[in-house]
Symmetry: C2
Amino acid sequence: MFKTLPLKDIQITDPFFTARIDTARKVTIPYMWDTLNDRVPGVAPSHCIENFEIAAGLKQGEFHGFWFQDTDLWKWIEGVAYSLATHPDAELEKTADEAIDLAGKAQQEDGYLDTYYIVKGLDKRFTNLRDHHEMYVAGHMFEAAVAYYEATGKRKLLDMACRVADCFDTNFGPEENKLHGYPGHQEIELGLAKLYRVTGEERYIRLAKYFLDVRGQQPHYYDAESIARGDKPSYWGQLRYPQAKYTYNQAHKPVREQKEANGHAVRQLYMLSGMADVGEMAGDPTLVEAADTVFRNIIHKQMYITGGVGSTHEGEAFSFDYDLPPERCYTETCASIALAMTASRLNRIQPDSCYGDTVERTLYNGILSGVSLDGTRYFYINPLEVWPDRCVRRQDMAVDPERMGWFGCACCPPNVLRTLTGLGNYIYASDGDSLLVDQYIASKVKTNACGQEIAFTMEANFPWCGSVKITMDSAAAFRLMLRKPWWANEYTLAINGERVEAVLEKGYLVLENAFAAGDVITLDMPMEVRFMSASLRSPNYAGKTALMRGPVVYCLEEKDNGQQLWNLSVKAGEAQVSHQDSLMGGVTTITCQGLRTEGESDLYTESVHAQQPQQLTFVPYYAWGNRGKGEMTVWVRRG
Amino acid sequence: MFKTLPLKDIQITDPFFTARIDTARKVTIPYMWDTLNDRVPGVAPSHCIENFEIAAGLKQGEFHGFWFQDTDLWKWIEGVAYSLATHPDAELEKTADEAIDLAGKAQQEDGYLDTYYIVKGLDKRFTNLRDHHEMYVAGHMFEAAVAYYEATGKRKLLDMACRVADCFDTNFGPEENKLHGYPGHQEIELGLAKLYRVTGEERYIRLAKYFLDVRGQQPHYYDAESIARGDKPSYWGQLRYPQAKYTYNQAHKPVREQKEANGHAVRQLYMLSGMADVGEMAGDPTLVEAADTVFRNIIHKQMYITGGVGSTHEGEAFSFDYDLPPERCYTETCASIALAMTASRLNRIQPDSCYGDTVERTLYNGILSGVSLDGTRYFYINPLEVWPDRCVRRQDMAVDPERMGWFGCACCPPNVLRTLTGLGNYIYASDGDSLLVDQYIASKVKTNACGQEIAFTMEANFPWCGSVKITMDSAAAFRLMLRKPWWANEYTLAINGERVEAVLEKGYLVLENAFAAGDVITLDMPMEVRFMSASLRSPNYAGKTALMRGPVVYCLEEKDNGQQLWNLSVKAGEAQVSHQDSLMGGVTTITCQGLRTEGESDLYTESVHAQQPQQLTFVPYYAWGNRGKGEMTVWVRRG
């Protein structure tokens, strides 16, 4: 079993990500704090802090916002905590402390803390687990509490979190006098696992396991709960697909019997993350196996090439195998983050490069596309094809053709924040004798791992260049496991300039060595332009290709290639690559020969349109939409 | 100004349509009567007749069904009337008479007749013109009344209709003491025009014109009406396209200022039909021009190749120019019928072959696809591409992959019925000196036109063969105008075997002749297989082709070509044609050389899939889905 290295032990120096993390620290953290306090002009008030003030009795008023509005604060604190772990900032810490103090005043005698029910009436709490989000809110609070404790050493929020957890433990569980319910939006499971990890309190991991064990059992808790409430049981999907009852919540059958991803994508993936954590910590491999089965269904059959997941906006959900329409996707930023979370957890249990490959795919594509280069605007949905007119003028489209400043349901922006400030969580992991390098994000490490102090410096210039250089800053003896990305068909591994062959173990290049201080390990992986195809089982990509280079997915934008991108085709096989320092923060672009079909005609015509050569310019997908509104497509016809 | 020939004067002998009309008469009429009377096992009760019984005070109970449920009866009577005009049937006429008697008992003192408000409370009538359908119901009643009067000579329903019209005339109009509203679902305009045509009552055409003149004026009646009702004004489309307010009802601006098709497709096209009728009868060419402008927008920019219209199920609506997704269309059967209705009306005012071309396109494709070959099952939506799994398993799809027995909102089945039994309305028209042949539907005609008796026999075998033979059954002197279809690039016209050149006037071949009895006019139009392209402005058809032969659009079905039709491409240019008498009631199929991309792979792969030759079999689009559930596509990649 591997653990991630503590955030404090990693200093990220990566040229690509440093700028983004700095933007997150300097722009996003204060901007988001202002939105939570309803003081950003032109942005609809969040009411998040106000709700806490009302719940704490410091202010009169009504609750506003979603029933999970509290999570905006908890995710902000988690993001702040990760930032403080590596970039101490007394003023920011004071702001966070004050927010924690405020929340503390709202916490009830028995530990309960959810401003929605505190303000609206505590008699209603725990009556609608299916649709409301009390456990989801708690889970995010636990994540924030653990992060803040680990970053600052301060216990206040951690103690508050334990009281919340105790409250759930008092009210839920297998005992007859307790409720036998479980969350409609999973998250508390992984939160309880984190709380268990730092407190060692067995009740927490037991409760998390209970929530997973009882999920989807018959008679169905959501049926009973809704009838008791005077509601009808939910039949999400009844109309077109009756079997879909409770698939939205992944509660259609017991979790160990679920073999395919279903329903709301973030719920699905937070659940898999929780199953991995709980399975590992509670020693139940059946939970890990079940999580891995669904994870593999996703990456092999339900994932977009960008690492986006969720093929339909109806329910923000998975649909079914190979149904991956590029224009009608949901591919929520949060879902890609949740996919990375699941992958990194499964990897710590049984390392396999497919997990790190997935994290890499999401990080450089479907997650990063969610935020503008300047860090102030966000996509909720990350489409792979955009015709702006269609987005705006069709009533049945959910896709926005441009990033927005904020959302009423503001889950994605703080989720990106905590991913960027907590990026160190995805790079390394270690167990008793091995250290994994999962992401080639340049950084300086000084840590205790494999029973010794290990210090090294990793230099890299991902995603533009596939050369990695690790310099040992002190002597150490351990197994160094370097992930060989799926795209690195060829690679050269060397120690101190001398080529070495390494065993390939589950996709990792393993070097079993006693390293001397100053030893240099280099891994060179040429990044070629790849013309990708999709499985023939997927209907939307027949005759089309998507360009990748290293981990980066490329796209065509109207800005570079003119309108009606659908009339372009690309000649696969020939491509020029050039790095443009001044373009969109510095990107490597690809140019190819292509053809444009041209000409005006009747709506339907017998005449065959002419084709003219056109040079096509591809830019990284994550950077699209930063130069004004326009068409975009990832998949292009082969010409 | 042309008029259609009376239905009674036309005996349809067409091999293609006779079978369908017979099915409509023998299967659909009795089946539909049974559904209206709630006695078809397995079909949800319609309550249509029961509502009339309750409204007439013959039965206790509540109103059930949609607020336009009455129209199921009126459309049934209209369809029956057309059938009786050519196929007298005493028993059927008795059934219809009894239904009319029943409805008569429900009619109120002041002429009002709408069972929804009679049962639910007359105090609420005329308070929600925008969403409810009182005027729509009346319009269909007027159409039924006129048809029944013309078929049987019986005045009872016609008199009832006049009393309904009088009631509207008493309550609506420009006078200060009247309501200044207009229908949320257009239809009364064309109904009033028909009533005017047979009664000569000027008030009816004045009222129809008023409804069109006042439409979309400011201050907006629907705003005022909804506020008076205590409702919010409707903002259909507010979310994504605020300009769309009241476009759903084509009430966003005055009708003469509307240049593009918008909103609910059937509403739009019933309105255009009404504008053509009223413009002509009330002598207002600006109405006709405005209707023609929108009609041309549709056929040049918003019509599917099948003659289907309505690009989105959200609002069953037009979306915008060139937005024609083949899988996400609405293309309601009723909308294609309404397009044919509009086209034939505009053609009678200023004959132009583009109108008859449109009628032909809808008749042989998008209308006929709406009903199964056995006449018992119906499509509401007529998609151009179907992957059944996606239809069933995606919550955001509206398309059914198979025809259904009936619908809760049962507008399409009776609309197909009245189109088939009233097919004679689309074939011919005449004015003082000319007779138009618009559709090459074989028939025997004996009529008074162009100031004389004209009798002839038209033989044809459309849509499989382009040869038409008209034999004069008596001498007559008139201008014979034969529509040259858009697809007939080549043609040979002859009289008594001798080739003649005819003037081409607005797409009609004009023969100015004194014909002798026994004269034979032949028009031969070779039907070649055409590989059609779509305008490059439309994004969904790049690199694809659709096959047509004569007026018929073809498609690939899974049944003939295997699964994953998206992996097939067709070699344009070579095609074999063969007529198969025993296939689906007799169809001409097309076979072409094509390629199938084959092979299993990862979801995303660098490898290029292999292609194998495959012979492709295309069947007429209208006949698809009659051999079990499976994939279908009209547009195929060019290989």
